[in-house]
Amino acid sequence: MSLTRITSVAELHRHLHAALQLEHATIPPYLTALYSILPGTNGEAYRVIRAVVVEEMLHLTLAANILNAVGGTPDLTPPDFVPEYPAYLPDGETDFQVDLQRFSKAAIETFLRIERPAHAEAAGKPRVVKRKKPARGALRASRVADDSDEHFYSIGEFYADISHGLAALQDALGAKTLFCGDAARQVTPDYYYSGGGEIIPVTDLASAQAAIRLISEQGEGIGGGIFDFEDEISHYYRFQQLTLGRFYLKGDKPGHPTGGSVDVDWNAVYPLTTNARLADFAKGSELRAAAADFNAYYKRFLELLTRAYAGQPQLLIEAVGEMFRIKEMACHLMRNPMEGRGKEHAAPTFEMASVAVEV
């Protein structure tokens, strides 16, 4: 039996486009929780979420490098690229809901679910399952094919399939045909550098698989362990530190961190409304205009990233400045209570589809 469901370059491209969407889809919920923390409070929690979101950006860029390497063109601008929140991510036999919400116990529970290692084999489950499609907000990521109800059991299985697919297609087509992308499109350390693993330019099967390994293991560790192959603490256990109130050190057992204390003040947070939508803002209000401005700016930012991934990697340097602006605009919204919502504050809505239509 073939290990992979990917049998053509077109299918590979489809999966990599889906991977880009998936990696990006975690960023709005993480940013919303991150920026909702009152300035000067919850330092440890702030840094934990920030570390994860920085790595998700790395994963997004790695997925773009793989897609570019196999002759695809990353595009962050299709109308459904940013899902409607609540979005649904695959986890075993069900999808689960991911909200745009304030930093809270519920948010961290969701983040743990996003990052939790789930392997079909370990769970004694088939790698592909039939799953009921939620009404909206579902990601393409885990669907085996566009016209199918079949889903990969988990994100881990989805990436494993891309990895197997790359190997199988190289066997079938040869390395030259498969890795036909323009090397100048690769994002290299010249244009990208942050903590948590280096950007890997992808030119062949080995580098593509190294990139996939980095994406999967940064999230869930090696075989679900606390640390990944670079001795870096995985996202799941990073978040768990917030619920357990203590940092992990090397040599700790899962569930029993022994490092310094992590003090969390769940109340030191802007009381954001959950899954804010533009329609919730009073018509004609300044706040609505600010929310619309945010969406327009974010849309332009995704266009900028798309250009950067399509042969102008130097634009990523410029994009760093834009990211500061995104933070400023998000915090601007979060500081303001919403009319007619009691004590709830505004939040960015990340509705890209609304941009052309409004205000």
Binding site: A51, Y193, F247, G260
Partner: protein, 618 residues
């Protein structure tokens, strides 16, 4: 990106004093940390004494300092640290205009003049690198033989070639960002194929605007034309790692210091307040090196402990121990005295404190030179408004400078200098942008759009050029101690005598003339003004200037070729005490026109190597 280390195991003084160490290092700044790391990596046991509190080795504690800085009304170099009467620090805000014959003893330093110096240093973990700007320029080869070549200052007992491999180590340790192509001027030579660990920090728009207009400009000195080339400045802050570094192995930057992984301290974001504290830990400071040393498991850190006396065996001259005063906390003057012992002792408490401690221990050295030859750089600030908006206040304080007047035959008669183009506007000279805001609101009644436009017009056109003028060694500039002046723990405070010679002032005057020429060429309005009532005012040939300090204290225990002409040898070992090393800029006989940290770090590597050899031989 964070630099994780095992949780800083801080030893209590009773245990430290009961233990014997291979080496006792006084001070956790860059010299002490490099030497402690070099020795502990080779398995030697090291005790590091730190006068300041033991905080700062976690991001949480670092951010408490950051919050203190944000909340401080005065943003001076030590604004980020708690006031500590048990280990006081000089602050520029304590500098006052002196009246003849009346020292200023209102701050920590007792200033005798004749010229007031507003330089500072920090007594905290990581030392003064905590607030340094992180410029990392190598010295010129000709700086090492100033006396022989130009008849000024003092010669070094070693040359540029000897120090070159250690410069490379220092550039690696501090993580210097620079392009080697920009740095090979006036004889500065690099190993073939050498590249800096990281690429240069991008130069600012302001730099580019200045460079464009200065293209082809020259100044003439003693009949010789010197170009005014704008070059990028090497700096110890994280940039883009150069894949060609280390024969193609590349460079992995270090980041924020913490026992836990935090992804902090990545690439410089251009926050513009590197001095006194980088909000994102992109700038190197010695805590990164100290964290590595602690990670070996061979280093004990004993904070809140001020070395008060070096104990010497009167027959052999060998140091037998260091007496210390360890205090309970920052708010109480309660302390306990004790002694720590080791095979080798290293004083790495900076040029002023090293001299203070030696003199407080009645160890002026057989040369009598401890505390003498006190040097700094004499900074002349000049400021102007550019004809158009140039985006001032973006980037690190300085990304480019003019280096062509750092060396040349004119140094026989007048001091050399380099100039920095400041991205932080007139801040250093006028406390901009705060003063601009006050002026527009209070004096000009501007508000709304007019205020916004006024601020852009005033601030975004600001250009400040600092001229860092060299200051050769002179024995009358010195640190002494005087039993009348003591701190809360009873330790004598440094008494500073400081003057600026005509040789330096000739350089200052030429710097001022050069600035006028530059501003003419740029079409900029010169706003420089020097108030005779301000501290640092000097007059030379009918012109008045304000001289500012650069925190580059040096020369107080110069190295040389014999016990007659110097305090230490080229390995920074005391001629008089074979197991005592005095490390830091205090050992430097000439500092030329380089910020001192890179060179003193190179010296620390060389001394670390030497001490390890000595310890092996024991």
């Amino acid at each position: 990106m964070s630099h994780t280390h095992s949780p800083a195991k801080q030893i209590d003084h009773m245990s430290a004093s009961a233990k014997g160490y291979d080496a006792v290092v006084v001070g956790s700044g860059v010299s002490g940390s490099i030497i402690a790391n070099e020795l502990s990596q080779k398995g030697f046991s090291v005790l590091v004494l730190e006068a300041g509190p033991g905080t700062g080795m976690t991001i949480r504690e670092y951010e408490a300092d950051l919050t203190r800085f944000y909340g401080a009304a005065s943003k001076d170099n030590n604004a980020a640290y708690a006031v500590n009467p048990n280990a006081p620090m000089p602050r520029s805000t304590q500098t006052r205009k002196l009246q003849p014959g009346q020292p200023n003893d209102s701050g920590y330093l007792v200033q005798n003049g004749p010229v007031e110096i507003d330089s500072t240093y920090a007594r905290v973990i990581g030392g003064t690198t905590r607030h340094f700007e992180a410029k990392a320029l190598r010295m010129l080869p000709e700086d090492f033989d100033m006396r022989t070549r130009y008849g000024q200052g003092l010669d070094w007992p070693l040359d540029y070639q000897t120090l070159e491999p250690y410069y490379q180590k220092a550039e690696c340790e501090m993580g210097v960002s620079a392009d080697v192509e920009d740095q090979g001027y006036l004889g500065i030579a690099f190993e073939p194929d050498y590249v800096y660990p990281m690429r240069k920090i991008p130069v600012s728009y302001l730099d580019q605007a200045v460079a464009k207009r200065l293209q082809g400009a020259t100044v003439t000195l003693e009949g010789e034309a010197y170009p005014l080339t704008v070059r990028s400045t090497p700096q110890a802050r994280n940039g883009i790692p150069n894949p060609r570094y280390n024969k193609g192995k590349g460079f992995v930057p270090t980041g924020a210091v913490d026992p836990h992984q935090a992804e902090m301290g990545g690439r410089c974001q251009g926050n513009n307040n590197c001095v006194p504290i980088c909000p994102v830990q992109a700038k190197y400071d010695a805590r990164r090196t100290l964290a590595k040393a602690i990670g070996t498991g061979h280093v004990d850190l004993l904070p809140q402990t001020v070395a008060s006396r070096v104990l010497v065996d009167s027959t052999s001259g060998r140091v037998t121990g260091i007496e210390y005063k360890t205090y309970k906390n920052l708010t109480s003057s309660e302390y306990t005295t004790g002694t720590v012992r080791g095979k080798v002792f290293v004083l790495a408490a900076n040029a002023v404190e090293n001299a203070r401690l030696m003199l407080a221990s009645d160890l002026p050295s057989s040369s009598g030179l401890v505390g003498r030859n006190l040097m700094d750089h004499a900074y002349l600030l000049t400021w102007a408004l550019m004809p158009e908006v140039v985006g001032t206040m973006r980037g690190t304080p300085c990304t480019s400078g003019i280096e062509d007047l750092r060396g040349g035959g004119f140094r026989r008669k007048q001091a050399a200098f380099r100039a920095s183009i400041h991205n932080d506007g007139w801040g250093w000279a006028t406390a901009a942008p705060y003063t601009d805001l006050l002026n527009l609101v209070d004096d000009q009644n501007k508000f709304g759009r007019a205020l916004q436009r006024g601020l852009v017009d005033r601030i975004s056109r600001q250009l400040l050029l600092d001229f860092m003028v060299e200051m050769p060694a002179s024995e009358s500039n010195r640190v002494t101690v005087d039993p009348r002046y003591r701190d809360q723990l009873g330790n004598p405070r440094p008494v500073i005598s400081y003057g600026v010679s005509d040789y330096v002032l000739e350089g200052v005057a030429f710097a001022r003339r050069t600035s006028r020429r530059i501003y003419q060429r740029l079409g900029a309005e010169d706003h420089s003004a020097y108030d005779p009532l301000e501290a640092g005012w000097v007059s030379y040939e009918g012109q008045g200037y304000i001289i500012r300090g650069g925190n580059h204290w040096a020369g107080t225990h110069v190295m040389g070729t014999s016990a007659k002409n110097s305090v230490v040898d080229s390995h920074q070992r005391c001629w008089d005490h074979e197991n005592l090393y005095l490390a830091g800029a205090g050992s430097m006989p000439t500092i030329g026109t380089s910020n001192t940290t890179l060179t003193l770090s190179a010296l620390s590597f060389r001394s670390g190597e030497h001490i390890a050899r000595e310890l092996k031989a024991v």
